[in-house]
């Protein structure tokens, strides 16, 4: 077997992996038009940041920061980044769950998760609610199917009316 350690060490590998995850997540957020996909990309970017944070406390030949876990007298890795990552992971899952709840509600009413479509309908609704003239057809891209009718404004938390499709 080739001696890999002579070429690259664990830290560099993990560093490349962490940066790669952040970049892939950023790319996904920027390029995707599907809200659910963007949520997945966000999770990847957060994972990359967490990995980088753990790496910031790692040193080779050190054991986990638990007394009695490794051999007596062995040096340990920095425990603080691990605490920070624990916190960050739980924050991440909380935000993700909340976003899922919002996605479900949005999908139930609009029936799509395409960002461009959603923004168009949001703009339309905002304009309508503000009593402004609806953007004229020249602003709408040609050749697409017409927008479905805007659901009438309903008070919060009333029963959701079925949307005609």
């Amino acid at each position: 077997m080739i001696e890999l350690d002579a070429v690259i060490n664990l830290e560099t590998l993990v560093y490349v992996g962490a940066i790669g995850l952040v970049a892939i997540g950023a790319l996904g957020l920027a390029l995707s038009n599907h809200l659910f996909r963007m949520l997945l990309a966000l999770g990847i970017a957060e994972s990359g940041a967490n990995l980088l944070l753990i790496l910031s406390g790692y040193r080779p030949d050190a054991t986990a920061p638990i007394i009695g876990y490794g051999p007596v007298g062995a040096s340990m890795v920095d425990p603080l980044p691990q605490v920070l990552v624990l916190t960050a992971i739980v924050i991440g899952v909380g935000v993700q769950a909340m976003a899922v709840a919002m996605l479900v509600r949005v999908f139930r009413v609009y029936g799509t998760l395409d960002v461009r479509e959603l923004r168009k309908r949001m703009e339309l609704e905002v304009s309508t609610a503000a009593g402004m003239p609806v953007p004229t057809s020249e602003q709408a891209p040609a050749g697409e199917r017409p927008l479905p009718p805007v659901p009438a404004y309903r008070p919060s938390y009333g029963p959701i009316q079925p949307r005609e499709s």
């Binding site: 060490n9 664990l10 830290e11 560099t12 560093y15 490349v16 940066i19 790669g20 952040v22 970049a23 892939i24 950023a26 790319l27 920027a30 390029l31 790496l55 910031s56 406390g57 790692y58 040193r59 080779p60 986990a64 920061p65 638990i66 007394i67 009695g68 340990m76 890795v77 920095d78 425990p79 603080l80 691990q82 605490v83 920070l84 624990l86 916190t87 739980v90 924050i91 899952v93 909380g94 935000v95 769950a97 909340m98 899922v100 709840a101 919002m102 479900v104 509600r105 999908f107 139930r108 029936g111 919060s156 938390y157 029963p159 959701i160 009316q161 079925p162 949307r163």
Partner: protein
């Protein structure tokens, strides 16, 4: 156009960070406070697991903030999803294997979750990890048979009281010791279940809070009616 710009941005970000990697001295962290924690956390707090000691001790306020974030997320999700309609269709119950499996899994997960919460100051694990497993236990039961629902009143009491007890332990320390969340009750003998002062108490509060919060969140999402037909 936008895709090219994003590609450039992400590529540039990655390149920048990779280029900076050379200056970063990977694998040789500064260990300014880290070494200090390693030296004194064990004797000062009496916890063998230094990560837990920092989490609930030195950085207890972060942990409180994190519990609040989870609470805020669950609250916001509850606001967004609102109440389910009584006549909304539910998912059908899972198959026999899933239900039998869930019945077997439930006590196992509860026991493991409690064990991990209670031994957080000794071994890897603690309030969060145990709480997640507890939440999973209840959620597996709901997933196997959606007609069984979680008792929302009970969940809101547990999460309210667990969070409140974390803060009240902190305020107790403020009154007793003059510092919010200062460790109380001595350190005990390291390695025993009843050691490390108030740390295990805080761990239990964290576990209950995280468990009830996540269980409530998942139940809320799973409870919402599927899209109207």
């Amino acid at each position: 156009m936008r895709s090219i710009a994003s590609l450039l941005f992400a590529g540039g970000l990655a390149f920048l960070l990779l280029a900076l990697g050379a200056q970063l001295a990977l694998g040789d962290p500064a260990m300014r406070v880290g070494a200090e924690y390693l030296r004194i956390a064990g004797p000062e707090l009496g916890a063998a697991n230094i990560v837990t000691a920092i989490l609930a001790g030195y950085r207890g306020l972060d942990t409180l903030g994190e519990l609040s974030i989870l609470f805020a997320a669950a609250t916001a999700a509850g606001l967004v999803l609102g109440r389910r309609r009584a006549d909304a269709p539910r998912d059908p119950p899972g198959g026999l294997i899933l239900r039998a499996g869930a019945d077997l899994l439930f006590p196992l997960l509860v026991v493991v979750g409690i064990y991990i919460v209670a031994h957080g100051h000794l071994t890897p694990g603690g309030g969060f990890q145990g709480g997640v497993i507890l939440a999973a236990a209840f959620f597996v039961a709901v997933l196997a048979d959606p007609s069984r629902t979680l008792n929302h009143a009970a969940i809101s009491w547990i999460e309210g009281l667990a969070g409140a007890s974390f803060i009240l332990i902190g305020i107790w320390a403020l009154v007793e010791d003059g510092h919010f969340l200062a460790p109380l009750l001595g350190t005990g003998t390291m390695g025993q279940l009843l050691s490390a002062g108030t740390l295990p108490l805080l761990s239990v509060a964290i576990g209950l809070k995280v468990g009830s919060e996540l269980a409530g969140l998942m139940a809320d999402i799973s409870d919402t009616e599927a899209r109207d037909q």
